[in-house]
Structure formats: structure tokens, C-alpha cells
């Protein structure tokens, strides 16, 4: 418990630092937000009124704490780009709200694919020491480090979308309209994210299992009459999964970052795409929130993995 508490404090500290950095970084940029919302023809009184409304007349430190307090209360601020005038403010929360599920589902489907394929594959590989599989997965792992994710996405689009016509490229189906259609479309971007990670995870699990197979307890288990199957699944796999859990945790962080690019390739209206377009149009309130959000997801996953690790492996003491 003490350990979890300590980790929790680190997590909150990191989040605090990132939020300060994300907020202050955008304060040093030249350019006036007020004129970009109201246009150049607005009267000085109106500009002053909006500036007060947005809290821009106060010093940055005061604004940071006001902003942080608002965020904690669930008020994420307003978008500069989508707010046309003072009566039609576009809340960031509303902007993000319907995009978040797209990214989350993309990450979930990718993760399911990775776990569902790589673990059986890794076990099979370790059991058979199959040379063909060895070569194939070796090539995929090697290639996945050389093929950028967006090019892989384009290749997937070409192969499955244009040649095999399994999905319509760019024909995104909204989850609100047709959920199974949405998942069907999501399968292909998820595959682009998952394939390199599957190769890496399977290889990692296989190496981990081969190491475990040489351990003394395996010989002991055999000498006590355990079947190969039992030794494999009850003893070796359980121990071999330890490092894989950490590895999968790191992969979640990479999926979240990787989805920024893949959403662009498959024109998925998720938060990654929103982040890119907000950066291009310098819509900083949205960028700040998204950065904070993505960072939170990433470090929270690390935190969960850390705890999960202790639950699976009681040998790691509390100290």
C-alpha cells in the first residue's frame, strides 16, 4: 500500500509538471487570441470584454491556477477556432466528447488483436521452434522497425481497401449510426497498429519462455510427473508472462501515440486528428487539454502495469 501511495504521488507530480509546461508553453507565443476570435473590426470595448471573459487580463500564474481549477471541476475551457463570437463559444469538452470514443475503441481493438494473436503465437513458437515461423516473425519484426506506421497504413488501405475491396477507404462509419460497421472499419487501422506489435510481443514471449524452460523448477516439475502441457501452461507461461505484461504496458503508450498518425491515414475523427488540426490552426486550449489527456492516459497505464506486476508476482516485496 505504501508503495502504491508513493507511486500515486509521483503520478500526480508528473501530471502537475506536464500541465504547467503545457499551459505556460502556449503563453509565450505571440499573437492575440481575442482578435482571432472577434476579427480586426471589433470595438475596443468588445475586445476588452472578451479578454476579461477569457481571463486574459490576469498574469499567467493566476491564469494557470484558474485554468487548473476549472479543468479539475470538469470545465475544459473554450476552443479559439470554433468559437465564432461571445455568444457562440465552443466548449472544448463538447469538441472532444464525440471524438474520444473513436480513439478509445481504436486502442481497444488494437490491444485485443495484439493480445489475442501474439500470446498464442508466442507459445506456439516456443513449443515448436518452427523455423518458418522463426524466419517470418523475424522479418516482420525487422521490417516493422523500418516501415513507418503511416506507410503501413497506406499499404493496408491499398491491399485490403482497393485490391481486395474489404472496406471503403475513407468511408468512415460513425459509431452512433452503425456500431458493427464502425468496428468493421476500425479493424483495418487497428491491424496497421497491431501487426508490428504482434511480431514484437510474440518474439518477446517466445524468448521469455525459452529462458524459463531452462529453469530448475521445470526439471523438478517434469520429474514429479507433470505432463508437457501442464509444465508449459501452468508453470512456464505464468512466469514467462511477467516481463510480457510490462512490455504490453509500454505498448499501450505506443498505441496511444501511434493512433495520432493512424487516425490521419484512415481519416478517423478521433482525438489524434483533432490534435493535429488544432496544432495547425493554433487552437491552444484544445491542444493543452489533449496533451494533458494523452499524458494522463500514458502515465496512468504505466501506473496500472506497475501495480498489476506486483499482483501477479508476489515475490516483489512491498519494500
Amino acid at each position: 500500500m505504501k508503495y502504491i501511495g508513493k507511486k500515486l504521488i509521483t503520478l500526480i507530480m508528473t501530471l502537475f509538471l506536464v500541465s504547467v509546461a503545457a499551459f505556460l508553453a502556449f503563453q509565450i507565443i505571440p499573437g492575440d487570441v481575442v482578435t482571432s476570435i472577434l476579427g480586426t473590426e471589433a470595438t475596443p470595448e468588445r475586445e476588452e470584454q472578451l479578454r476579461q471573459e477569457l481571463g486574459l487580463d490576469k498574469p499567467p500564474v493566476v491564469r494557470y491556477f484558474a485554468w487548473a481549477a476549472d479543468v479539475l471541476r470538469g470545465d475544459l475551457g473554450v476552443s479559439y477556432r470554433y468559437s465564432k463570437n461571445m455568444n457562440e463559444m465552443m466548449p472544448v469538452a463538447e469538441l472532444i466528447g464525440d471524438k474520444l470514443p473513436v480513439t478509445l475503441w481504436l486502442a481497444a481493438v488494437s490491444m485485443l488483436l495484439i493480445i489475442g494473436v501474439s500470446i498464442p503465437l508466442g507459445v506456439l513458437w516456443a513449443r515448436s521452434s518452427n523455423h518458418f515461423l522463426d524466419g517470418l516473425l523475424g522479418v516482420i519484426t525487422q521490417a516493422s522497425m523500418a516501415v513507418p506506421s503511416f506507410f503501413l497504413g497506406i499499404l493496408v488501405t491499398y491491399l485490403f481497401g482497393i485490391l481486395l475491396k474489404l472496406f471503403a477507404p475513407g468511408g468512415y462509419i460513425s459509431y452512433q449510426e452503425n456500431f458493427s460497421g464502425f468496428l468493421g472499419y476500425l479493424f483495418f487501422p487497428a491491424m496497421s497498429i497491431a501487426v508490428p506489435k504482434i511480431a514484437m510481443t510474440a518474439r518477446f514471449l517466445r524468448n521469455s519462455m525459452l529462458t524459463e524452460l531452462r529453469a530448475d523448477y521445470v526439471r523438478t516439475a517434469y520429474s514429479k510427473g507433470a505432463t508437457k502441457r501442464r509444465v508449459m501452461y501452468r508453470h512456464v507461461l505464468r512466469n514467462a508472462m511477467m516481463p510480457v505484461v510490462t512490455f504490453l504496458g509500454m505498448i499501450i503508450a505506443e498505441i496511444v501515440a501511434g493512433s495520432i498518425v493512424i487516425e490521419q491515414v484512415f481519416s478517423l475523427p478521433g482525438i489524434g486528428r483533432l490534435l493535429i488540426s488544432s496544432i495547425s490552426t493554433r487552437d491552444f486550449p484544445v491542444v493543452e487539454i489533449l496533451i494533458l489527456y494523452i499524458t494522463f492516459v500514458v502515465i496512468f497505464v504505466y501506473f496500472l502495469v506497475d501495480i498489476l506486476y506486483r499482483v501477479i508476482d508476489p515475490r516483489i516485496s512491498e519494500a
Binding site: 508528473t14 509538471l17 506536464v18 503545457a22 508553453a25 502556449f26 509565450i28 507565443i29 525487422q142 521490417a143 522497425m145 523500418a146 516501415v147 513507418p148 506506421s149 503511416f150 506507410f151 497506406i154 499499404l155 488501405t157 491499398y158 481497401g161 482497393i162 477507404p169 503508450a253 505506443e254 496511444v256 501515440a257 495520432i260 498518425v261 490521419q264 491515414v265 490534435l275 493535429i276 496544432i279 495547425s280 493554433r282 491552444f284 491542444v287 496533451i291 494523452i294 499524458t295 500514458v298 502515465i299 504505466y302
Partner: protein, 274 residues
């Protein structure tokens, strides 16, 4: 038996090295040449030759404006390689300076720098680069600056651990006893001895820089037209995947070629060094 195995291993190491050298060499020659000369102008449009498939006249075909794709890939390779080399140069230099000082002297500065690199480490690097680019704005100079900053921690960590390993080595103690100055110990006595390790991280860093640069250009927040860039070409080509698949394949394969060549090369260096 052992001798035969090591013999085989050195051969396969040489194979990696040879394949890597050929691929990297070709990429460098084509890329650097592309910055100064291309068979066709990279901007000349030709309405008559829109989407010409690959042929002798146009090796990789032409794009939606009738521009020669091979020429554009040449120039794009040059731009991408040049940017990545500068990124690695800046972040590597900063990494050596910070890593040397923190590793050798330790203390409060070391603590501060390590906490910072730890914090950055957990953070997806593309996100960091995006934040910096959104502050600085688009363009190739800002790509170099943002990636240059993002890549510093990885170099600091490696250089630092090597300096920690060597700072108490006998020959360094001896040099200290003989009254050699600190700067000379850092950069004349220790630095040359970490180059084999540093070199590997430079090569990994270079590949990551290539992927990051082309990724940012693909997203439209990196190199801007009229500069040719492989990533930007890919994003333009994506809309014509059905009618002109070669348009997307050419820049994509060029990226794969550079990265694969360089990783084979570094793998070869590593295996031969062992």
C-alpha cells in the same frame, strides 16, 4: 566447433555490413545528388503527363501535376537525410556535453537532469515534438529544433552511464593523480573510449529521426512545400491510391530503403565489433 561458429557469425556480420553499406551508400548518393541536381525539375508541371505510370522516361512515373516522381523522391531523400543528420548532430552534441558533465561530476545537476529525462522518457516522443512544433510553427528549421530537443535525453542517458562507468577506471585515477585538468580528462581521456557505444545510439537516433521527420511531414506539420519531403509526398499520394499506386509506393519505399539500409549497417557494425 566454437571457431566455426564464430567464423560463421563474422561472415553474417559482414553480410549485414555489406548490404547496409550498399543501401546506405546508394541512398546518400541519390539524396545528396538530389539536393543539387535532378533529372527533371521537381516543380515543373505538365498537364499532358499526369499520372504517367513508371517508364524509362519517368522511372517512378508522374504525379497529379505531371511532376516526375523520381526527381521528387531524390530531393525528398536529400531533405529527409539532411534534416535527420542535423537533428542527430545537435542532440548528440548536447547529449555528450550534458551526459559528460552529469556522469562525471554527479551531484545536484545530475539529479535534476536525470529526473527530467525520466519524465520525458515516459512521454511519447512524437507528442513532445508536436508540442514544440505547435509553439514554434511549421517549417524545416523548426522540425530540426523540435526533434533535436526531443532526442537529447536518449543520448544523455547513454553518455552519462558510460562516463559513470569510466570515471573511476584506473587510467582515469592515474591521470587525475598526474594533475590532468578536468576538461582534458572528460574530452581527451574518456570521450574517445565511449565512441563505440555512442556510435550505436547515433545510428538508432538517425533512424528514429528519419521516421519522425517523415511522420511529421506526413501529418502536414513538418517540412512545407515547395520543399520536397517524402512524408508530404505520401500524404499527397494517398488520395490517388486507386489510380496511381506508384505515387505512394515510391516515397514510402524510399523511407523503408533508408531506414532498413541504416539498421542493417549498424547491425553489421555491431556484429563485427563483437
Amino acid at each position: 566447433m566454437k571457431r566455426i561458429r564464430s567464423f560463421n557469425e563474422s561472415i553474417s556480420g559482414n553480410k549485414y555490413l555489406a548490404a547496409g553499406l550498399i543501401m546506405t551508400g546508394l541512398a546518400l548518393v541519390i539524396g545528396i545528388l538530389g539536393l543539387f541536381w535532378t533529372p527533371y525539375s521537381t516543380t515543373a508541371m505538365s498537364a499532358a503527363e499526369k499520372f504517367a505510370p513508371p517508364s524509362i522516361r519517368h522511372l517512378f512515373g508522374t504525379d497529379n501535376f505531371g511532376r516526375d516522381i523520381f526527381s521528387r523522391v531524390m530531393k525528398g531523400m536529400g531533405t529527409t537525410i539532411g534534416i535527420s543528420a542535423l537533428v542527430v548532430f545537435f542532440s548528440g552534441t548536447a547529449g555528450i556535453l550534458l551526459g559528460a558533465i552529469t556522469g562525471y561530476f554527479g551531484g545536484l545537476l545530475d539529479e535534476a537532469v536525470m529526473r527530467l529525462t525520466d519524465a520525458v522518457n515516459g512521454f511519447p516522443s512524437i507528442l513532445m515534438a508536436l508540442v514544440i512544433i505547435s509553439i514554434l510553427g511549421n517549417g524545416k528549421h523548426n522540425v530540426i529544433i523540435s526533434l533535436g530537443i526531443v532526442f537529447i535525453p536518449s543520448f544523455v542517458r547513454i553518455v552519462r552511464s558510460e562516463f559513470i562507468r569510466l570515471r573511476d577506471a584506473d587510467y582515469i585515477r592515474r591521470a587525475r593523480l598526474m594533475g590532468v585538468g578536468r576538461l582534458r580528462i572528460l574530452f581527451v581521456h574518456i570521450l574517445p573510449n565511449i565512441f563505440s557505444v555512442f556510435w550505436v545510439s547515433v545510428m538508432i537516433g538517425f533512424n528514429n529521426a528519419i521516421l519522425a521527420e517523415s511522420g511529421m511531414s506526413y501529418l502536414g506539420i513538418g517540412v512545407q512545400p515547395p520543399d520536397a519531403s517524402l512524408g508530404k509526398m505520401l500524404s499527397d499520394a494517398q488520395g490517388y491510391l486507386q489510380s496511381a499506386p506508384w505515387y505512394a509506393l515510391a516515397p514510402g519505399l524510399a523511407i523503408v530503403w533508408i531506414v532498413l539500409g541504416f539498421s542493417l549497417f549498424s547491425e553489421g557494425v555491431r556484429r563485427c565489433g563483437e
